[in-house]
């Protein structure tokens, strides 16, 4: 599997570290109830098909990417920076 890094070009997946689902957002402040934290930490949609997930390009540009991939075919539709970059900011 090769991941089309927007900064480095298509690279072998071995250069990257996988984190998982890119959709969950950590509940903050008053929203961070026990149930919401449980949902965030443990529960997963785990879809068969189109999936947005986080990869870290540790052997390349050190950027976090959101990769859109089909979990049934491993075909990659897009790879974008996880955070729209501010100059010099850690992703």
């Amino acid at each position: 599997m090769r991941i089309p890094c927007p900064y480095c070009g298509a690279r072998d997946a071995q250069e990257f570290t996988y984190l998982g689902d890119a959709n969950p957002k950590r509940p903050d402040r008053m929203e961070a109830t026990e149930a919401a934290m449980f949902d965030y930490v443990y529960q997963r949609d785990n879809p068969a098909g189109r999936f947005r997930e986080l990869w870290y390009h540790g052997a390349g540009c050190h950027a976090w990417l959101v990769v859109t991939r089909d979990t049934k075919t491993h075909a990659i539709e897009a790879a974008e920076p996880a955070k729209p970059s501010k100059a010099g900011a850690a992703a």
């Binding site: 949902d39 930490v41 785990n46 999936f51 491993h74």
Partner: protein, 416 residues
């Protein structure tokens, strides 16, 4: 037909023309008492024990492909009960005891071979961890022996002992561990369940679950609707998809795990060995091929095929442990889909929906658990209470904090 030396002799004299199919290719009826979704090892064992232990035989097992086409056909056939944590030890030991009596119980040759499972250690810290594990096992009535380097060398002399970054210092041996012919497990349970009246329905894919007032009433399938009072999910790899049909989310991700078989060679290794310095394990099948594997691919996948980086990693571990295997060719490799749960342990429990039961999250340790998984799941379905050796495998353990993190690597499926 009961298989015995006499039936074999009679068939031999008759030119082997009288063998019957091992189970009926049943068409689904309109209604069952219990519907088991998933015709793998766990689903078939569940149906068999429902019939044999609880007298519930109005049961169907429905399978989207053919039975044994999923993970029971993918594993590396190893059985063991060398677990450390209280939630796990009695369950896996129960499974081991069921393996020991399985062939007599189901009248089927599953080639249960207690050739031993040897976990190698390579450092003082790892030796201490294995000593602790062995002690925990022996306290729970499970057999365990801590071997030093020379004892290991006497068992498996051809490994790389002297050089390398991870010299072998010894190993933890469970002599009752070993391997079982995996396909025969599916076929044997299917035949034994069928003989007790269970319908084995193949090529029948579930497309929807019918739920009325918080209670399941049946399923929609590619072969029409089927009603059932109780529905049991045993579809490891696809648990999230089935649960989504019931509006549930699970603490599970699906990942590919690959397995490998070399070309057939004369007997080389008469036990199962795991390499403690990397993730690699190897045994030899009765056909002569070395069967081995390593890590999961480590990202969500339903593809049932692996990718090359893990293959390279497994081969590197193999060469580090056993340089001689470099002379062998890999005959084939394949991938299956694992339910990676968030603490690395399984789930056998009710769901919040009445009449819907869940057997999931086996990570990549499901094969050794097959008999006890079926036994405990059948108990839960029949009596609506968990079996004493499976009380820790609750779905709510993630909210109550009672996670079972056997490997101690945290609550993320990509680390197990």
């Amino acid at each position: 037909m009961r298989y015995s030396v006499f039936s074999l002799l009679a068939q031999t004299l008759a030119g082997h023309k009288g063998w019957k199919p091992a189970w009926r290719d049943a068409a689904p009826k309109h209604e069952y008492d219990v519907l088991v979704i998933g015709g793998g090892g766990h689903g078939l064992a569940t149906a068999y024990y429902l019939a044999s232990q609880h007298g519930i035989s109005n049961v169907a097992v429905i399978e989207k492909g053919y039975i044994g086409s999923g993970n029971v056909g993918r594993n590396t056939t190893i059985i063991r009960s060398n677990y450390l944590l209280p939630g796990n030890t009695p369950f896996y030991e129960h499974s081991m005891k069921l393996w020991e009596g399985l062939e007599q119980d189901i009248n089927y040759n599953a080639m249960v071979s207690q050739r031993g499972v040897l976990n190698l250690y390579h450092s003082d810290a790892q030796r201490d961890a294995y000593a602790r594990r062995g002690n925990a096992m022996r306290l729970a009535g499970v057999d365990a022996e801590l071997l030093d380097r020379e004892q290991v060398r006497a068992m498996v002399p051809f490994f790389n002992y002297e050089t390398g970054r991870f010299p072998i210092q010894g190993g933890l041996l469970q002599r009752r561990g070993g391997s079982v012919r995996h396909d025969a497990v599916a076929w044997g349970y299917a035949r034994a369940a069928d003989q007790r009246g269970v319908d084995i329905v193949q090529n029948c894919e579930v497309t929807g679950l019918s739920i009325e007032n918080g209670r399941v009433t049946g399923v929609e399938t590619s072969r029409g609707p089927i009603k059932a009072k109780k529905i049991a999910l045993a579809v490891a790899g696809n648990s999230s998809r089935l649960a989504a049909m019931a509006g549930m989310r699970l603490p599970i991700e699906s990942h590919v795990l690959q397995a490998f078989v070399s070309e057939g060679v004369k007997p080389l290794i008469d036990t199962v060995v795991t390499y403690g310095a990397g993730h690699f394990y190897v045994s030899q099948s009765d056909k002569g091929g070395l069967v081995f594997g390593g890590d999961i691919d480590g990202y969500n996948s339903y593809a049932q095929r692996g990718n090359l980086p893990v293959i390279e990693d497994v081969m590197e571990s193999a060469m580090a442990l056993w340089p001689g295997v470099g002379r062998l060719r890999v005959l084939r490799h394949w991938g299956g889909i694992m339910d990676m749960s968030m603490d690395g342990s399984p789930i056998i429990d009710h769901t919040p929906i009445d009449g819907l039961y869940l057997n999931a999250g086996w990570c990549y340790g499901g094969f050794k658990a097959t008999p006890a998984s079926g036994w405990c799941f059948a108990h839960l379905i029949a009596r609506d209470e968990p079996h004493p050796v499976a009380t820790a495998f609750r779905l709510d353990r993630f909210t109550t904090g009672r996670v079972i993190d056997e490997k101690g690597v945290g609550a993320q499926p990509n680390l197990h």
